[in-house]
């Protein structure tokens, strides 16, 4: 690792001030950033640790919405259970030690194309809250490792509507346990959302054709013969065709599990 200083603000305002420098980089749970620093793929002059900001932590219901502080670790979301599909998703990230450090805000800000949380947040139609504004999930994820966050903007919380039914199914890449493909399906009334991670060259996406079919008939066989359009990732772990096939299979399984 290159040398850097660490700042540990205790409030969001202090963190925003510390991040104003060009050299500064926010540090969430560090489960992606620290390995990245070790490989010298990032070289910030200052790391602003968000781990000491109590206002970013905790889970609370707000009417029909669940509000999760951005600094809440995966293990705490897994233990919550208010939205069972989301807790199951969190319980499947990485391993137990990683889940005690990694945070929902860090995962969303990083927007790894194979991460689980982007699928859950997009699949629930959640809202990402920052220190400046509220961003709908559909506008938040803008591409591979790209989000709508501006420089110095910090995710403070995520607001997740509670669905009538939801499920997340992922097919793990066996070495990394990241999603080779992961599909989050939610249904509230006749509104169905299908969010897919791991598959697309553009990062997490909504499979709108499947949503339309499932809105008319919420059953796995409503998807018979369908597969997603668009450029799927092709790499040593799976071809584009294989991933497209997995998207359809996993979506059916998620519908069946709802």
């Amino acid at each position: 690792m290159y040398e850097f200083d660490i700042e540990k603000p205790s409030t969001i305002d202090e963190a925003v001030a510390a991040l104003a420098s060009d050299e500064a980089q926010a540090l969430g749970g560090g489960q992606t950033l620290i390995p990245t620093l070790k490989q010298r793929l990032a070289a910030p002059g200052v790391l602003v640790s968000l781990g000491g900001i109590d206002a970013l932590k905790g889970i609370r219901p707000e009417g029909d919405t669940l509000v999760i502080g951005a600094g809440t670790c995966h293990a705490d979301v897994a233990a919550d259970g208010t939205i069972p599909a989301l807790s199951a998703l969190a319980a499947g990230i990485g391993d137990p030690a990683v889940r005690n450090r990694g945070t929902i805000g860090g995962s969303l800000a990083n927007n790894d194309p194979s991460a689980c949380y982007p699928a859950g947040v997009l699949g629930l139609g959640a809202t990402v809250v920052t220190n400046q504004r509220e961003i709908g999930a559909g506008d938040f994820f803008t591409g591979l490792f790209e989000t709508a966050l501006e420089d110095g903007e910090i995710i403070t919380a995520v607001k997740l509507p509670r669905p009538e039914a939801a499920a997340y199914v992922k097919f793990e890449q066996p070495a990394s346990r990241f999603a080779l493909v992961g599909v989050f399906v939610s249904r509230t009334g006749t509104e169905v959302r299908v969010a897919v991670t791991g598959a697309s060259e553009d990062g997490v996406f909504r499979w709108t054709e499947a949503e339309a079919a499932l809105s008319a008939n919420f059953a796995p066989d409503a998807l018979d013969g369908m597969s997603p359009d668009g450029d799927m990732i092709s790499d040593i772990h799976g071809s584009a065709e294989y991933r497209a096939h997995l998207v359809a299979v996993l979506t059916k399984r998620a519908v069946a599990a709802c």
């Binding site: 690792m1 290159y2 040398e3 850097f4 200083d5 660490i6 540990k8 540090l27 560090g30 489960q31 620290i34 390995p35 620093l37 070790k38 790391l47 640790s49 781990g51 293990a75 990485g94 391993d95 137990p96 030690a97 990683v98 005690n100 450090r101 346990r177």
Partner: protein
């Protein structure tokens, strides 16, 4: 450099650390607690597992500065007050839950975290919990047995392989 203070195995410690000093380095090189092993140094193998405020974490994937003010437990803190092996350590010896022993400190810390949350885990619970602790001797079977035994459960029910 900044001053970092924490409680390690019940003892208050304070020392200077660079921003980039990992908790694993701080424990091993600054405090001399070399029981915490560094295997992969990439957050995958779990040999460096310690408890931070009662929760298991990979100490190579956390900066010492982030642990400022925290309560840390390492493998050196797992023995009984008289220096004899703790229950989990004793079970690892009894059931030969180690081969080369390199992963063992992390395995014991992971086991302790599991049993604190789930005093009577099933075999499946144990195997799932160890998903981030790798034993390259592939000695998992006896490790699972040892954790079962440490929880006071019968190990005879575990299949031969």
């Amino acid at each position: 450099m900044a001053q970092v203070s924490m409680t390690v195995n019940g003892k208050a410690v304070s020392a200077e650390a660079e921003g980039r000093t990992l908790l694993s380095q701080f424990l091993r090189e600054t405090l001399g607690l070399t029981g915490t092993h560094v295997g992969c140094d990439t957050g995958q193998c779990g040999a460096c597992t310690v408890h931070v405020n009662g929760r298991m974490v990979k100490s190579c994937n956390m900066f010492a500065a982030e642990a400022d003010g925290a309560r840390i437990t390492t493998i050196e803190g797992m023995a009984e007050a008289d220096g004899s092996l703790g229950a989990i350590q004793a079970a690892f010896r009894e059931h030969h839950g180690l081969q080369c022993g390199f992963c063992t400190p992390g395995m014991v810390m992971a086991a302790a975290a599991l049993l604190a949350d789930n005093p009577k885990p099933s075999e499946a619970d144990i195997r799932a919990h160890l998903s981030g602790n790798l034993c390259r001797c592939t000695g998992y079977h006896n490790i699972v047995k040892a954790i079962m035994a440490a929880s006071g459960q019968d190990v005879g029910a575990i299949a031969a392989e």
